[in-house]
């Protein structure tokens, strides 16, 4: 079994693109059933949503209010899934409902472990 990190990024800058509260409630439900599907396959290993506040630190004591000071996309949450291969991880990630939103993206990364080599 391998572990994959799925990172979800939302386009926060385009204010006009902001969904209505009603739509957000609907997205939340879609989101939840996507996760439920992964849990049902026994492949969910954990995850969290992130608040929109944050700080970005840089060399030389540079600190800015983040996370979206410089990038249009903001990391909104992540989950870790356990599955046999990359293709399956991508298949599950492709079903993430945030991909219905213009400007959003989902990134799949294999987690490398020293001990299980």
């Amino acid at each position: 079994m391998e572990e994959y990190l799925i990172l979800m990024r939302l386009d926060l800058l385009t204010r006009e693109a902001q969904p209505s509260p009603e739509q957000m409630q609907e997205y939340m439900k879609q989101y939840h059933s996507w996760i439920a599907g992964i849990v049902a396959e026994g492949k969910f290993a954990g995850g969290k949503g992130l608040s929109t506040e944050g700080k970005v630190l840089k060399p030389g004591n540079v600190m800015t209010d983040g996370p979206y000071a410089e990038t249009k996309e903001s990391l909104a949450g992540f989950i870790v899934i356990r599955t046999g291969n990359f293709d399956d991880a991508v298949r599950l990630a492709a079903q993430c409902p945030i991909l219905n939103g213009e400007g959003n993206s989902v990134e799949v990364r294999k987690i490398v472990s020293v001990h299980e080599q």
């Binding site: 209505s20 957000m24 939340m28 969290k48």
Partner: protein
Amino acid sequence: MSSEAQIPHLFRTEYRKIVSVLCRHFGFREIEVAEDIASDTFLVAMQAWGIEGPPPNPAGWLYSTAKNKAKNYLHRHSIYEEKVLPEVRTGWDGDTELEIDLTPGNIYDSQLQMMFAVCHPSISGESQVGLALRVLCGFGIQEIADAFLTTKEVVNKRLTRAKERLRGVDIQIEMPPADQIDVRLEPVLTTIYLLFNEGYYSISQDRALRKDVCLEAMRLCTMLVENAATNKPQVNALLAMMCFHASRFDARIDASGDLVLYGEQDTSLWNEDLIMNGAVFLKAAASGSILSRYHLEAGIAYWHTQKEDIPDKWSNIVYFYDQLLKLNYTPVAALNRLFALSKLKGKLAVIQEAEALAIENNPFYFALLGELYTGVDQHKALANLDNALQLARTTAEQQAIGKQISALQKG
């Protein structure tokens, strides 16, 4: 998933509460900040609840998230004021943070006060309705655009301009003093009335959305009735009118979404509960010395809920229309009065009076003449209905008139 989180419209309901409380806290000048913090709160909720499932107390979770975001905003704001603008110190220091009060009492008061702020005569009726849908009802820009059959850009521009205007008149979020309640209620009631009409007569084909808009207008009016200071006869009259009209919501649009004319509706689909509630509010409206247009329109609407075609029904409707026209003349009310009069006195007796109105640019004028000539002079009936069809502004109107024409051609 907890049952609470499945409450329909939970996000919409909580959005308007959070915006009202924050806006009252920050002042109307900062309404965009309040809107942003509320939107941000739901964005985080969407993500966190999506992954972990909704919390046991969804509203409480939203409030504490919104509070934290507001505190962060105030903190950043104070840094700016202290470091960048030291000369304009507001006296606020970071240690004595004012607690954002999201208790039920303050939520209710804030929403009520926001109503008086947003429903302001300095902005156009369209803007009042748009802003009310956004700030008082929690609708999204796209939903408002759908209701008005316009684009998001147009709605955004309209709302931005309306907020600018309200800042310009330095609008305060507060209850009007007791001796000014009647005067200040007037624009609020006008907005609620327009909001209801927007839903009831909207050109939008989205039936569920239209019903939501009507229910929102009734909810806002109910808040005014529940508050001792604003529980006035004219407020009850408006609520009664909306209940009576809303009772026909399911009967006036058929399964395929077409408009069903009053005379052809299946009266078993009329909602008896709403009619009964309307009667209660109408009774509560019958006090004091003000006879508002809402009293008269509620009277008209009440008699329309009577199923039997008795002479009393139409004579009362005509009577109320006579009063309404004296108070506030509109061509549509004049046409409606003539329709009621024809039910009372017969078509022939009314045709001359109708033609004297000569409202040549109004589809309802020709539709009325078409109706009056039906069974009297088929040729003239058809000619008038054709005119009405040419002038009809919505597909629903076109369909309704088209049906009348084909019925006439068959008969």
